[in-house]
Amino acid sequence: MNASLDKGVRVLKEMIDAPIASYFASCVHCGLCAEACLFYTETGDPKYTPIHKLAPMRRLYEQEYTLLGRLKKWLGISPPVTDSELGAWQELVYNSCTLCGRCSAVCPVGNDIVYMVRKFREGMAVAGHAPAGVIEATRRTIDLGSPMGVKLHAVKAQMKHVEEETGIAVPLDVEGAEYMVQLSSMEIINFPEYLSAVARIMQQAGKTWTLCSTGFEATNAGIQIGVSDLARTIVMRIVEGAERLKVKTVISPECGHAYTAIRWEGPNLIGRPFTFRVQHIVEVLDEFRAQGLLKTQGMETDRLTFHDPCQLARRGGVIEPQRNLMRMVAKHFVELPEAGLMNWCCGGGGGVSANEEADALRLTAFKRKQSQLEAVHPDRLVTACAVCRTTIEEGLEHYQMKLPVIGLTELIAAHLTAPAAGGPEGG
């Protein structure tokens, strides 16, 4: 047994708790989880069955925590988990799973399979069996402050761009601001229109806000690859920033896993509840809407539909707010089949879109999203996650489907009524 495998196995054993034991005991091999997983439905390959992705963990559990399992191991009937076995499982655990959670929503005996995959990744990463490119994200986060190597000067560049575009100054490190706005690297790099939209919305709502120079990064690669230490470091920077600046609410941007990381895993990673609120930008916008702070004019007249990011809706609990916001600005809002809680994943989350080895599989799996869209034939697609956006656009491009994709925050901002205060925006 080599050192990494040893460590990996030890981590896996620590991961196992009563829920996991209950889940393994309950599984009746009905295979319904496969019918809910786009990696199986679009490939027809049973190896992508969600519960099968956990086979080594199951054996480890039985051998460690059950009398019968220990007996079988002693008799040589149950072989120990090996390094090559974990190596063989890397594809199943990282390439064919986005942590979308649909499997957990359908298992008849109630197994929370995605919960188990998330924990299995912890052991896999320590044993050295996580995708190489994303493992590098750990180094970059520690060394550079961002998993993607996006440093403060890039943020400042975007701030300048936004100030030019909107005429609104973007606040940085303002103590006592009500909201602290996080940015995912994807937004800083690919979608600067997000920050512009936020600036304009905050101005109209009359809310104070700020970016944080030491804790701006929302992207949490640690959550994706399953390295809690890394995930904790990223969350801690945000927490320190939020507490130093004494903000009331931290806003998680248009990203799925970033929200899961800070809202639901954050306090558990750092071992204490937060002293501030955490909301996804969609929740914030809906709250403004409900309070009458969001004044919009005009409606989009083409046929719009909405793609629910898995980590926001099914895994995050934000399902109605986006619909309220869509109805504010869309005359013809149509729902995808199985929208909301049971929406199908875009196929790019959980580190899959960053994993070049998974490209072919991801594009095959995209056919599920394609059929959902074809059932409704929208003119444009709206969503609230930067990775969903790029994944969907790449999929559409691959299948030669012409369908513009836009962000919800951007869409709302485009309909804001002009600022009440007169005079031209400063240049």
Partner: protein, 152 residues
């Protein structure tokens, strides 16, 4: 006329007719065209500069530039490649200047914005930071363009 700030810049662009917007947009895009290696992007910018492009051609050029844009997306979690990003924004600038007339909007302003982002990505790549003179250069470009228009 002279341009001193973005309010004036944006307003002046908005006042232009779509075909005139496209011409000045092409000039903004041409300034950053060399930052992209993609032939689809360069073709779109050249076509917009030439002028007299039919709607059908615009459609094709727009689609091609869109493919270039999508292909240059960053992968979430991977190391940011700023030179790739430069190309991404040049593609967006190219798309804006060949945007079909029906959806034109203020395409010249959009082109200018994307061109500035491309320039910023370039200077980040070169390590010279985020300050650059793209904005001023665009103001001068627009001034020249408007003055030419007045004369002819």
């Amino acid at each position: 006329m002279s341009i001193h700030n973005d309010s004036e810049f944006k307003a002046a662009l908005e006042r232009l007719a779509p075909d005139r917007q496209r011409q000045v947009a092409a000039r903004f895009a041409r300034r950053v065209a060399d930052l992209s290696q993609d032939v689809r992007v360069k073709t779109a910018i050249e076509a917009a500069s030439r002028g007299g492009v039919s709607e059908a051609e615009l459609e094709v050029l727009h689609q091609a530039a869109n493919s270039a844009r999508v292909e240059s997306f960053t992968r979430c979690g991977m190391e940011a490649d700023w030179s790739d990003q430069t190309g991404h924004f040049v593609a967006k600038a190219a798309m804006a200047c060949v945007r079909p007339t029906a959806a034109a909007g203020n395409l010249a302003w959009d082109t200018a914005m994307h061109a500035r982002m491309a320039r910023t990505c370039q200077t980040i790549t070169e390590g010279t930071g985020t300050g650059n003179r793209e904005t001023e250069a665009q103001y001068r470009l627009l001034e020249d363009f408007l003055n030419q228009g007045v004369r002819t």
